[in-house]
Symmetry: C2
Subunit: 656 residues, 2 copies
């Protein structure tokens, strides 16, 4: 593998106005709000949430830990993986310290570490559901228990918290968990020859390996990846011995082995099947282990999954998961817009996968997909006020359909306060607070700048990179590199696929002659100072999808830079399907509106609109009775910003 | 109400080649096959049937009756309404005697009447599930029990069998059932102030009234219609007292009151909501009672339901029911083609409704819809070999989607051998064997000829009507009326909506000057002989749907005469969405192929076809990279005949 950090990335300070607004929002609103929720102190309403699984308003997540720690009494409440809400929140908080020191929050999180330590069993085990209510069933029903998934999320949080604060206890908890898992799982006779129903612990173990250099943790992650699917009966055998009728989560037994990526060894799997979040968490772990172990078969499988997802199963916004049944992938080119899933967590997980693939290969496509997720698929999961969230992210929505067609009832047309299964809000929060970690990747002595998120970054050898821009609204990207030690290195800049048709780069004021290699341009740097000006092509583009995709046939989507745009009822007369957009040149205008939706670029698109047939007309008529078409103009806003004003129709794909 | 039969319709002998083939098929294949199935002697496979509800290959329907009759021992098997398979089959057989005397079949059906009589309780009750396994729960959980639905189906069969054969026992069983129901239900103190969860008995009781003239039966039907929804708590109260956890059919308790048309009095209901078959059975009963009682409020409700269904909730093929969840209507203009339901039974029931509305009003629209069902929505439910059936009738199908997108798994792309819930096959069989009853309606001294099904009909007063045609393939309709008694009457002929733009009628060889009144033309007849030649406009038409329907936007459907056409994989390269059909004049050609699909007219339609994007291409690209369009030709066959050759893609709506 090529990944070696000859140059070390020390710190990145995000200066992007766009991202800093979100990052401040997480500090100011999201973290306090979620902390309240987890402590059952928020006044939330999850009644209209199809994922609530009959839960009431309480999260009980902190209470579960307190009970497990012996500080309170009572029963566990919520899903078996309820603990993970806390861990993802903790991880998000840890990252926030890199740009917002907050003694009050730090006090809370330090105390939380103590609580978690108290809740942890002697042997390192921690899953409050089993500790409180069914200790005899530990590791006995891994298809549904989420025990390793839960501990994996703590391990991630513990590593992040240790890195952010130096809190050793946080790391020790993680190590004890990993040791517990290492003790219980493996190919030895007295060990469980299995794995968790929900991949996650693999990537977490590698993160722990990366900070501790403890080879056992990497080996354990590698074991889980190799073992997965080797015995397709594993879960069934466990269920048989645990008792058929003792499901931990209703309905989970009915999902196929492919849902769990457990039907065959993952190196043999040809397509990205099953629960989308499971797939991308698994792929992230695979990429990490492949990089550290040079397991070429695993890398081949990574690339195969990547291609299947990106070339055949991904929405233009980066969202993934075409069906609500199992929150899952379906089949190649099946991308319905109005019955889809597109879970926020899946876009977060896809960002992890892309980030890890960038460490393996300097390939612009990974950066393109990461950008797609950051600016669209993942970001749309949170409202502009930081207090409302999407679990499901549709590309087409209609309140009437959500209300009255049961096949679309999972599509909310407004973000919810919270979810019974609250995996998404904190997952997105941790992505936003750690977005500084998604801007650069270093290969040997090449610095890859793959995201246009304005920042100031310090590298080893006295290198600093200052990236200024007003992205995603403007395409002028300026870099100022300081290299006092005159170190010689390569500086690679990703040229997004959407800008490769019109590239302009100047170095120290002079037009540079550059070629794009696998999505990047490279400049050799050895002088003390260098200024790079890159002008990305920010023209509005009308995009079509492959005609292998049934559901987008005859339609276009509008993009500008990294942003996918959407028409919504707040700006346009409904129904939104009733427009034919013009597709010639110069049919769009663009303007930035500082006072709209936290500041957004708005696109106007020429169109004609059919006069609606009268409700008294026959439902079917000959083409002779064609409706009159009036000139019309569609107003589009960035997809991530939809339904922040009113609860109405929305469409990304528009008829030509 | 206007309906009075001054002239009586005595007998109609169907001579239509198209329909005679189906009617013979029912005699030769369907009835023997279904008899075998119900006696558990057929080698059927319902494994791939999403409606099988975990049932195995056996129907057990006859065995249930034998056990209830004390001739065998054992438990009931199947749905609580399993008996209705037998009754609908018996009704179909009864009608078949009108054109096919069959001593062997008659022996079987006479014996079946004896069996049913033996199975009936002293008090007239008959529902084998409750008799065999839960006698203490009779009428205790009407939301789910289907007891009146079941007895209603027998009443229909008993009346039909009595009318066909003169078997009085058959009628007596029906009368005893009705008496039992009359005893148990009503507003008296000791009666149940409720109704069945599945409307059906209302229409059956009116049929029994029509043959017996027993006013109690009409009153009882009227009671059920008035009572429905008066106490929206009725089902819940019964369930509470019967025991919450004792569901007869899993999941039925979760459906809303609107699913059962029990949320409010039916005269107050504004839209056709809930289970589609329930709605149209209910409407049929409403129309029948309204006609006999002159209940104008009920008639107004009938027309409101009719309009909501026909103008806002019906597929172009006549199919109804937009969602698989509850086999139900959704909301106005919601007509998805690939996730829809369109149950065969719902089209059969809609035919009943149309037939009854024709008795109330001489309005061509009722005949138009009846024709739509007979030639498309209902007829598509059976294969050309008479041995395979559709429960769900999609307007768009793709085996890959049915296999791999759970939201489409209910869409079979080939007709099944049988169903666990086998309501549809025999329902369609009884429609086909009684199609002679769907051709004429008499109002006072007006004979309305509303279906172009060739026949010879005898009326009272010595009137005979001979209708010759080669419909639906040709539009020349010839009538020869004999009127030896020189009776003066009106002869009304429905001019289908699809032919009103080009009308040609001649009487005794001379062009007649006629005007269309509410879809009919009328000729005054008083001479002994009259020849009428009507030429219907059989040009191929490209139809669009109201632009209020999202799912058909930008698409056309092809019709010719009464038939809706479909493109299927057997004739066309897939994917079928990948064509842009031409919409100018003269883009279609038509030819009849006697050797194809039992003889069908085939339409060729000019189109262009996009060359499929390469699987290696990016999933999304700019419009600049437009795919090449090649000239192409789509081959279309009648919708009813699809998937009789191979199991592949099918589309009714095609992109322009």
């Amino acid at each position: 593998m090529s990944y070696q950090e000859t140059i070390q990335l020390n710190q990145v300070k995000v200066t992007s106005e766009f991202w800093q607004r979100y990052r401040d929002l997480v500090v100011k609103e999201v973290l306090p709000y979620q902390w309240q929720v987890m402590n059952d102190q928020a006044n939330i309403d999850i009644a209209d949430d199809p994922q609530n699984n009959g839960q009431d308003k309480n999260s009980h997540a902190i209470a579960n830990l307190k009970i497990a720690a012996g500080r309170e009494t009572g029963h566990h409440y919520g899903f078996p993986f309820q603990d993970t809400d806390v861990y993802k929140w903790l991880e998000a908080a840890a990252y926030s310290f890199s740009y917002h020191q907050d003694d009050n929050l730090k006090k809370i999180t330090d105390e939380l570490i103590n609580l978690i330590a108290d809740a942890q069993d002697e042997d390192g085990y921690l899953s409050t559901y089993f500790q409180i209510d069914e200790p005899e069933r530990k590791f006995k029903r891994l298809q549904q228990s989420h025990e390793l998934y839960t501990m994996g999320h703590y391990i991630e949080a513990g590593v992040a918290y240790y890195q952010a604060t130096g809190n050793k206890k946080a790391l020790q908890i993680a190590e004890r968990m990993a040791d517990c898992i290492d003790q219980n799982f493996g190919l030895k006779e007295n060990q469980i020859h299995g794995y968790d129903g929900h991949p996650e612990v693999e990537l977490a173990l590698v993160r722990l390996f990366e900070v501790t250099q403890e080879q056992r943790y990497l080996d354990l992650a590698h074991y889980f990846l190799n073992q997965r699917g080797q015995n397709p009966e594993f879960f069934d055998e466990q269920i048989k011995s645990d008792g058929e009728e003792r499901d931990l989560i209703a309905g989970m037994r009915d999902f196929t082995r492919r849902y769990y990526q457990a039907a065959e060894p993952i190196k043999d799997q040809q397509t990205a099947d099953g629960h989308a979040v499971r797939v991308v968490y698994l792929c992230t772990g695979m990429a990490m282990v492949a990089r550290h172990t040079d397991d070429q078969e695993l890398l081949t499988a990574c690339k195969r999954f990547w291609n299947d997802i990106v070339k055949r199963r991904m929405y233009i916004t980066g969202n993934i998961g075409s069906t609500t049944t199992g929150e899952a992938f379906t089949y190649d080119y099946d991308l319905p817009n109005d019955t889809m899933y597109g879970e926020t967590c899946a876009s977060v997980g896809m960002s992890f996968f892309a980030k890890e693939m960038l460490k393996i290969e300097a390939k612009g496509e990974y950066g393109d997909v990461l950008e797609k997720e950051l600016f669209n698929g993942a970001l749309g999961g949170m409202s502009l006020d930081g207090k409302h969230f999407f679990y499901v992210n549709p590309l087409e929505a209609d309140p009437a359909a959500s209300k009255s067609n049961p096949g679309k009832s999972h599509i909310l047309t407004h973000r919810a306060d919270w979810f019974g299964c609250a995996c998404c809000p904190a997952n997105l929060a941790r992505l936003i607070t750690s977005v500084d970690q998604y801007i650069y990747t270093v290969h040997d002595n090449t610095i890859l700048s793959h995201q246009f998120i304005a920042n100031k970054a310090n590298f080893s050898d006295g290198i600093t990179v200052t990236q200024n821009n007003n992205f995603p609204w403007q395409g002028d990207i300026n870099y100022h590199l300081e290299n006092d030690n005159h170190k010689s290195f390569q500086f690679g800049i990703r040229i997004p696929q959407w800008s490769q048709d019109n590239l302009s780069v100047s170095v120290n004021g002079k037009q540079a002659d550059v070629t794009i290699e696998d999505g990047f341009i490279y400049l050799t740097v050895n002088q003390a100072n260098i200024d790079i000006e890159l002008t990305l092509n920010m023209t509005t583009k009308l995009m079509r999808s492959s005609n292998r995709v049934k559901d987008n046939f005859g339609q276009i989507a509008v993009t500008r830079g990294p942003l996918v745009y959407a028409a919504e009822e707040a700006d346009n007369e409904i129904p939104l399907w009733d427009y034919h957009v013009a597709t010639e040149d110069d049919v769009t205008t663009y303007a930035y509106h500082a006072d709209l939706l936290g500041g957004v670029g708005v696109i106007h698109l020429q169109a004609t609109r059919e006069r609606l047939d009268s409700a008294d007309d026959a439902l079917y008529q000959t083409l002779a009775e064609a409706p009159v078409k009036d000139k019309a103009r569609l107003t589009l806003v960035p997809y991530y910003s939809w339904t922040n004003r009113s609860n109405g129709q929305m469409r990304v794909w528009l008829y030509r």
